[in-house]
């Protein structure tokens, strides 16, 4: 491919001009205000529904016995998955030295941070007694009791928290030089001080760059296995039980692949939105979108393999309960969620065999959306088909989410998008320094 990945032929300042201009003189104030207001409304909806939830109790959700976990856990897994993909795109591609990563990594990392926040609210909101959430942390309690470190839930709590902290560090570390760029371009005093403080006095010293690069790579190198561990733990949250359909060693890798897949879906949507809204055609090029589409296609096939391997695994076990769980998956009361998943995650991405589809923004966006929604249904299918039919037929029952399930879910979308709008408005959305680095590299190679 000969098309440009980075704007090689333009002056070095061009990238900085394009990206750093956004926080300083935002090009689309009206659209932004409308979007931010809408998502702020959703965010307020989140606080309202969470307050009502805390006051009334999780009884206002549709959870019951045996479906003790409902939409809350599905959303949790979904958000963790999206978050994980952000780090994967940024960290893994950095380690693999993929040039095209640099246009996407910043907002993928932002996606990771905000998605993890959304995921993180669920382990608290879904508690019966959320005000006692701090019992999950090891602190010298007067009771002398500690958390239970064998529980995948405890792992999850730490995993989410540590993952959030490490993601923020990784993100911020990458941001520092670019914040310096914005600082130096800022005209107003307010912008200078704001970005000046955030940039911590970055001045592009060779020594700083050296340490920065080492730290950046090292953090990427530990963030990537962290992602694998975090989503493996989410998988173990299920497979640590003995329930048919969950009790499988296959879950951790299955979940990691799912996480990456859902994240690519969201990143595709975000990339297109940001590109179109902010006219970053030079930064987020067709090449980037094409690459995303190819990876989505590849992961989609991997997902398909996972789904059917999981089913084969159950069938091959010959265990009666596993077989019944497969039966329920394929033709039970919630089989529609399985087939929806199959269609959206496994069938739809195959349009990407076509180059035209890969380069059509609408198709790209739609497939990204399909994958995102499909991955939600996958979690719905995974959680529900096992829980509603457990071992003893006497305790089988159905599950109907209530208004408040959806209200909190919609609220978390606000919790994700509103900070994201702030991010797009006030921080450099792509990695200026790294793109310049690549431009320089390519120029040297050409020379």
């Amino acid at each position: 491919m000969n098309e440009p990945v980075v704007p090689v032929d333009k002056p070095m300042s061009h990238v900085g001009d394009e990206i750093a201009a956004i926080p300083l003189e935002y090009p689309r104030p009206v659209g932004w205000l409308a979007g931010a207001a809408g998502t702020l409304l959703l965010l307020l909806g989140f606080f309202l529904s969470a307050t009502i939830l805390f006051i009334a109790g999780v009884g206002i959700w549709g959870v019951n016995s045996p479906v003790f976990w409902g939409v809350a856990i599905m959303n949790y897994v979904w958000w963790v998955g999206i978050g994980n993909a952000g780090t994967l795109i940024s960290g893994l591609l950095l380690l693999l030295n993929q040039v095209w990563r640099n246009a996407l990594n910043r907002f993928a990392e932002a996606m990771a941070v905000f998605a993890i926040v959304c995921a993180g609210v669920y382990p608290i909101t879904h508690l019966g007694r959320p005000w006692l959430f701090y019992w999950m942390f090891p602190y010298p309690a007067e009771m002398g009791v500690w958390p239970q470190f064998r529980s995948p839930l405890t792992w999850d709590v730490f995993a989410i928290l540590i993952y959030l902290l490490v993601s923020i560090l990784f993100w911020y570390l990458g941001l520092i030089p670019d914040l310096g760029t914005v600082r130096d371009r800022a005209k107003g005093r307010l912008g200078q001080v704001f970005y000046g403080v955030l940039a911590l006095g970055w001045r592009g010293s060779a020594r700083h760059w050296l340490r920065w690069k080492q730290a950046y790579h090292f953090t990427a190198a530990i963030a990537v296995p962290l992602v694998f561990s975090v989503h493996s733990e989410v998988g173990m949250l299920f497979s640590a039980s003995q329930l048919p359909g969950w009790h499988s060693t296959f879950f951790p890798p299955f979940f990691v692949v799912g996480a990456a897949f859902s994240g690519f879906g969201v990143v595709t949507m975000l990339a297109i939105s940001i590109r179109q809204a902010l006219h970053l055609e030079d930064v987020v090029t067709m090449f980037h979108l094409d690459a995303l589409a190819r990876i989505t296609l590849g992961l989609s096939m991997l997902m398909g393999y996972c789904y059917w391997w999981d089913i084969f695994n159950s069938v091959y076990s010959g265990d009666r309960y596993e077989l019944r769980a497969v039966g329920d998956k394929l033709s039970g009361a919630y089989a529609w969620s399985f087939w929806t998943t199959q269609f959206l995650n496994v069938v739809v991405p195959h349009v990407f065999w076509s180059r035209r589809a890969r380069r059509n923004l609408f198709v790209l966006f739609f497939v990204g959306l399909a994958v995102t929604v499909g991955m939600w249904f996958e979690r719905y299918m995974l959680v529900l088909t096992t829980l509603y039919h457990g071992f003893l037929p006497s305790s089988w029952n159905y599950y109907i989410p209530t208004f408040w399930d959806w209200a909190v879910f919609a609220g978390t979308i606000g919790l994700f998008l509103f900070p994201y709008f702030l991010f797009v408005r006030f921080l450099p959305v792509s990695s200026i320094a790294e793109i310049k680095e690549k431009v320089f590299q390519i120029r040297q190679e050409r020379a």
Partner: protein, 167 residues
Amino acid sequence: MTRLLAEFEQPEDLLAAIGRTRAKGVPIIDAFAPFPVEGLDQALGLADQKVNWLGFTGMVLGAMTGWFFQWYANTDYTLNIGGRPWLAPPSFTVLTFEFAVLLGGFFMFFGVLILSRLPKLHHPLFEIPQFRRVTSDRYFLMVDAHDDAARRFVEDLHPASIAEVEG
């Protein structure tokens, strides 16, 4: 001591200037660029692995902390959880790793800042107007111009500008 800041318009110019400066034996204090210019470290002869070692130390400490937490909690109040042994390495590895990553990340991040003496909001370089473009498209070399010869040498590099750094 006089510190001179020479401005270059292209990274290649900076690299070339560094090569010449080092050959001449003029002490280089630092170089500045808007991005991590490839070859800059080698040109300056920087080979500092401190950050990596810090990260590694953080990870080891983190792993120890993580393991200790779990070991201590289960020793302090030993409970029979589902018939599993009280010391359960398979279960404990997970958080051990998580803590390793946490402390590794922290050490790394704060290591970079401390080693780089950041935050440093007020710096003499910021007095120099053209230095503002260091985050955009200008490249700077700062040398210790202890005598006039050195100063002339800098001028010979044909930088876009030369400024004296105070303080």
